[in-house]
């Protein structure tokens, strides 16, 4: 007998888990949802990421989206917890005159959005974080950022969803092999563990979203893997309590990439992100490089990120590194996530392409997609994120 489902969500990362989480709360509790992933839940990008909940003030729409999502994260923390949520805030640091000049601009951007941020002088900075390099003269402190453990958060979302919607099935290690169509519409998903008849499929496969589109006979989505090298220290106490970011991070991470993501000779770049964890270890990032699906460590970029992290937090020099790894961010060509229906295939929805903001934007992405699927008004105008912008 062929299994049937009202919806199949493909991808068990933070986006897929959040889609399921929000759907379970919006749809009737009799809805049968199957979440499949080729590997473990949170086994790819989400499990390799830093878990930074980052409010970006430089653009009104981006601010609205990130702040809405960070609020959903806070709600989940208050309601459930269990994913090491830490309200670390973010301390934006600068090392060049040009970047120092950016610090008040950044503060003003937060204030202009009706939010708050502080420009700290050298003494205030020392009071807040004695472990920082003594020559730093200024910084911008934004209290609204936080840190979570994404893989635990995926579990929390799925468990809450299962409680709300007993028909939810979570199936790790279950790769999608193909689809059956009924005319234009979707009819079934063929998986490594059998066929699931369904009229509705969500593509939440991040860097693999173009592959899944291709399996459906659709053009490849313009999403490209952007590699990041990360290191984590032992539990020896972090030199800082606040999350550190270079102010250049915003334009580096979210501004236009200086290189064409389809090129293979990208030498990559770096901006400091140092993240104290609840267990006394410290995550050190972040680097960005387009080089396909290659997940081998880039020693040169890792070294640069360690060196730069030490420059701001000298105590890190003596910190033992216990592990390094590489994650792949799903970079959408126009730097906006894809959240919504894919009109050429009725019943196909997409939630992918968040680059380095997938953890931040996970909850709001799930919510916007679930609201569109359920046909209820969206919390945030979804227009800029509709995948239809890439339909020929």
């Amino acid at each position: 007998m062929v299994e049937t489902a009202d919806l199949v969500v493909v991808g068990g990362g933070i986006v897929g888990c959040s889609v399921v989480h929000q759907l379970a709360r919006l749809l009737p509790n009799t809805t049968r949802i199957v979440l499949v992933d080729r590997g473990p839940i949170a086994g790819a990008t989400s499990g390799s990421s830093m878990g930074h909940l980052m409010v970006t003030p430089d653009d009104a729409a981006a601010y609205a989206l990130t702040i809405a999502s960070v609020r959903l994260w806070r709600d989940l923390q208050q309601r459930r917890g269990g994913f090491h949520y830490q309200a670390t805030g973010a301390l934006y640091l600068a090392d060049t005159d040009a970047d120092v000049a950016m610090l008040p601009v950044l503060r003003d951007q937060f204030v202009a959005r009706g939010d708050s941020a502080e420009l700290l002088d050298a003494r205030q900075l020392r009071d807040l974080e004695p472990g920082l390099a003594p020559d730093l003269q200024a910084a911008t402190f934004y209290p609204g950022d936080a840190v979570v453990l994404p893989m635990l958060a995926c579990g929390v979302m799925l468990r809450e969803a299962q409680a709300a919607c007993p028909g939810l099935v979570v199936r790790p290690d279950c790769a999608v092999l193909g689809f059956d169509r009924d005319g234009d519409r979707l009819a079934a998903v063929r998986t490594a563990q059998g066929t699931i008849a369904t009229r509705t499929v969500v593509n939440a496969t991040g860097v693999w979203a173009p592959d899944l589109a291709e399996l459906l006979g659709q053009p490849r989505l313009p999403i490209f893997p952007r590699a990041g090298n990360l290191a984590i220290t032992g539990h020896h106490g972090t030199p800082v309590r606040t999350q550190l970011l270079e102010v250049s991070y915003l334009r580096f991470a979210h501004g236009a990439a200086a290189v064409d993501p389809t090129r293979t000779d990208d030498r990559g770049g770096h901006a400091v992100n140092v993240q104290p964890q609840s267990n006394g270890s410290c995550l050190i990032g972040s680097t960005r490089q387009f080089r396909g699906m290659d997940r081998t460590l880039n020693r040169e970029l890792l070294h640069r990120s360690l060196l730069r992290a030490q420059r701001y937090a000298p105590g890190l020099a003596a910190a033992p590194i216990v592990r390094t790894w590489v994650g792949l961010r799903p970079y959408a060509i126009d730097k906006q996530p894809l959240i919504g229906p894919w009109p050429p295939v009725p019943g196909l929805w997409i939630a992918a392409g968040h680059e380095g903001l997938g953890i931040t934007l996970g909850p709001i992405t799930g919510r916007l997609l679930a609201q569109q699927i359920a046909g209820v008004p969206c919390d945030v105008d979804p227009t800029p994120y509709l995948p239809a912008r890439f339909c020929a």
Partner: protein
């Protein structure tokens, strides 16, 4: 800031235990330049452990006959022109290159051949109270007593499985500690299977007789088919609950009784330390009675990666005799490859015979799946990240039953030990599959924790 330093040698050996010492002494005797890297401060490894600065051994009489061989070996090793790098942590490798940290400095050893002889570490089986202060592995007790002359307590319980319980007991009694109970989880009947491996081998026969006499002299009776169920105490271990186990190692709760102890050594065998081999890309296979995943080697002790050889416990737990014999084969292979000297066939035959005997012996002490029933849902399984068995089970139920999925779902194995302690039991416990091999661990840089400064100062290779 550390300075970049580069060493060159014909052969780089990781580990100055029996395998590494035999191999390097022979290679040096033949005129090859050899650098040995060891995490300890003295040669000898775990088994031929030396006290600091040649201090007199408080329990010298408590060394079994095989250790005379160790003394000879240590003397020969000291005589040879072998460079021993003490306190060296190897944290990265590729064929012909070993990166290590020593005294805060970052070094690169360039060599024509790599010999991996890093040994093994204790297998931990979680039980309630195993993380209490005063409860340590059998190996740790031996390090304290035989490596540092530290007397860890007055009343000891030694529990676990395998031949290494015996030197743990004799080290303790030799240091004046009362061993209240010595518990071997394997049944006497299961152990009979090992008899062939003991009786057929003169060295092992003498060794067994020596231990039997020592235990008798100290009034310690080894109880077969018993183990530790739990440890209890206020801030540190004060009591242990012990009892019988069935043939699969399942605790028979009706036999539980409490004894008063102030130190517990738990040793459920050894796990080969294969991380460097995996980092180098060497093929591995799972052999339960040899401690789990081991490197695959051919009859000449060559791994699947050219110019990388391995000897001793990394090829499967087998003990010092196997390690020494395989170290000898390694030396023969390298001398053949680099100097064109035909390897003596006898060395290979002897190594194979020692390996067969060890396999027969250790088959009697292969990990018992039922011991995983000692842990309760509230028992910590990953002590780096404070993950309980219940959390690990929940993770396996939701995220998937692969080792990686469990790790992602609860953080077990993500801490400083990188699953060296919890890994061998975690998957069996969390996924409820005690009989199946665990997944091969994934090794990421650095292979051992080293400082940011060391990584940054690493000489390019």
């Amino acid at each position: 800031m550390t300075d970049a330093r580069v060493l060159d040698a014909d052969v780089g050996v990781v580990g100055a235990g029996p395998a590494g010492m035999v191999a390097s002494a022979r290679l040096a005797a033949a005129g090859l330049s050899v650098v040995v890297l060891d995490e300890g401060q003295r040669a000898g490894g775990q088994i031929f452990r030396q006290l600091p600065g040649g201090a007199p051994h408080p329990a010298r009489g408590a060394e079994p006959p095989s250790h005379a061989r160790g003394d000879t070996l240590l003397a020969a090793f000291a005589d040879r022109d072998v460079t021993l790098r003490r306190g060296a942590t190897v944290w990265d490798a590729r064929p012909g290159r070993l990166w290590f940290e020593q005294d805060g400095a970052s070094w690169l050893l360039r060599c024509r051949r790599i010999v991996l002889a890093p040994g093994a570490y204790d297998r931990c089986v979680p039980f309630p109270g195993w993380t209490l202060p005063g409860v340590v592995t059998a190996g740790a007790l031996q390090v304290m007593v035989r490596g540092f002359g530290v007397v860890p307590g007055q009343r000891a319980l030694v529990a676990g499985s395998g031949p290494l319980l015996l030197p743990t007991v004799t080290a303790l009694t030799g240091a004046g500690v009362e061993v209240v109970a010595a518990l071997e989880a394997s049944s006497r009947w299961r152990a009979l299977r090992a008899l062939g491996g003991v009786l057929g081998n003169g060295g092992r026969r003498r060794e067994a007789a020596w231990y039997a006499r020592r235990l008798l002299g100290a009034g310690v009776r080894l109880r077969w088919g018993w183990t530790v169920f739990a440890c209890e105490g206020d801030g540190r271990v004060q009591r242990a609950v012990i009892g019988k186990v069935d043939r699969d190692g399942r605790p028979r709760r009706d036999t539980a009784r409490t004894i008063e102890v102030d130190v517990v050594g738990a040793g459920f065998g050894l796990v080969p330390s294969i991380e460097l081999g995996l980092r180098l890309g060497c093929a591995a296979r799972f052999v339960a009675a040899r401690g789990g995943h081991c490197l695959v080697v051919d009859g000449a002790q060559r791994t699947s990666v050219p110019e990388v050889l391995a000897a001793g416990e990394i090829c499967g737990v087998g003990g010092a005799e196997v390690a020494m014999a395989e170290g000898d084969v390694v030396a023969g292979t390298i001398l053949h490859e680099l100097r064109g000297i035909a390897p003596p066939a006898a060395a290979g035959r002897r190594a194979a015979a020692e390996r067969r005997a060890a396999d027969r012996l250790l088959a009697a002490f292969a990990p018992l799946p039922g011991l995983h029933e000692l842990a309760t849902p509230a028992t910590i399984v990953c002590r780096c990240e404070d993950v309980t068995l219940q959390q690990a089970r929940d993770a396996a139920a939701l995220h998937g039953t692969s080792a990686r999925a469990i790790k992602l779902g609860c953080r077990a194995g993500m801490g400083p030990c990188q699953a060296r302690i919890c890994g061998p039991s975690l998957q069996a416990l969390a996924a409820g599959r005690p009989d199946q091999p665990m997944d091969l661990p994934v090794v990421q840089l650095p292979v051992r924790p080293v400082t940011t400064a060391t990584i940054l100062a690493a000489p390019a290779g």
